[in-house]
Symmetry: C2
Subunit: 245 residues, 2 copies
């Protein structure tokens, strides 16, 4: 165990910080940091390895794109047994659309890891989705497919991917919860409070109560997102019939 710890122990202070931030993001221990460093390296740095091959995230993005497609395909396949291949293809396109991937990359705040010669404001907005895919490629090389699967499920699909909304059935969970409470003559409350935690960026937490009982909480980088995450949890609690109507 001590032996293993020595192997994975980062070599300097910068690596140590990177290691711990990555670990928090991934929810598991990264082993070979160089894969993740590459995933966050922009081509503008013009780095090359000893064979003259460029060191940047672009090849990893190709790899991660494929893996993400597989994990989402497998998720949809199992979640929607009645969906035919046309439905599955269409839903996957929505989940992995450039716009959606950029949102996911932003939600995960990946940009803070990026090393580039161009200032971050001048890099294309697609950087968020691109490094999100590259990160998945790095996880694959470092820990294999099952870790990618776990990361995408836990850190991406569960909090951020929303089949009902992508299907257009529900456009806002907050709206859905409010409408339901009004119909059932129940009192609801969305309470939000700023919560910086130990992260650089400001976070918001939201509690949803119905008839005085806290039903769910949500946390995100904006009040609106935190409300949606909390309301989505209320929605699932309803689905699970944990709320009596």
């Amino acid at each position: 165990m001590n032996f293993l710890r020595r192997i994975v122990k980062p070599q300097n202070k910068e690596d140590e910080n990177f290691y711990y931030e990555l670990k928090e993001l991934l929810n598991f221990k990264p082993i070979k940091l160089s894969f993740y460093k590459k995933a966050f390296t922009h081509r503008s740095l013009k780095l090359v390895d000893s064979s003259g091959n460029p060191i940047n995230y672009e090849r990893l993005e190709f790899l991660g794109d494929a893996i993400l497609g597989t994990v989402i395909a497998s998720y949809l396949f199992k979640k929607v047994p009645e969906g035919d291949e046309g439905y599955l293809t269409q839903m996957r396109s929505k989940v992995v659309s450039r716009e959606h991937l950029n949102d996911l990359g932003k939600d995960l705040e990946l940009i803070k890891f990026v090393k580039s010669n161009i200032s971050k404001e001048h890099i294309s907005n697609n950087i968020h989705g691109n490094i999100f895919e590259a990160l998945i490629g790095a996880i694959y090389l470092d820990r294999g497919y099952n870790y990618c699967h776990q990361f995408i499920y836990e850190q991406v699909i569960m909090p951020y991917v929303d089949i009902e909304r992508l299907e257009g059935k529900i456009s806002s969970y907050k709206g859905f919860v409010i409408e339901w409470c009004q119909k059932k003559k129940k009192k609801y409350k969305f309470e939000s409070y700023e919560d910086s935690g130990n992260q650089n960026k400001k976070h918001f937490s939201v509690r949803v109560s119905i008839d005085g009982n806290i039903i769910a909480k949500g946390r995100a980088t904006s009040k609106k997102k935190a409300e949606e995450i909390a309301a989505k949890r209320v929605y699932y609690a309803m689905q699970n019939q944990m709320l009596t109507s």
Copy 2:
């Protein structure tokens, strides 16, 4: 162990035959035969499960297509470290082209497993590639990603996928070997013999000798393919400098 054996033991003679043929094809033990049966069921049979969802290969094909894309992406990523994402994307398109997948499906003789209400001659030629992808989907559900990876590497990439040829560098390995021998003033011989083995379809085996030493063998459903497989092995032996020039 006996307990496990009881679980996986097929229930009747037809299932038993299917199990052993599958095992030979996959090079590992399948567990849940129903996944594989679905992978070989054509929609023309109009089968449905207890929830009314169709039983045919089409959803599995969607899943397998994604997994195949990932395994090929990972193979190319590692095999060609100097290839940029444009090269990788282009090479993958060639490997997973409809035409190439149909060839792979034919090489694996998957059509013999297909159940359909339409006679096999009247089904579209794409059936070969489609059920090849569906089979990969079935492996994923039955045994997980790593088994798909192993199957695609051992049974598909190694014998049939040929980067040099797809890149257009080598159009025929047999031609390459002959040219090399003529240049080096060596005697070469391609010997072929029919070899039915214990399979239904006729197979051909080919031996390649250089200066009287057998260098490699190949086996396939046509003499030409068996020669190419054998010649490709000679080519790799040359690459590995096992042949003195």
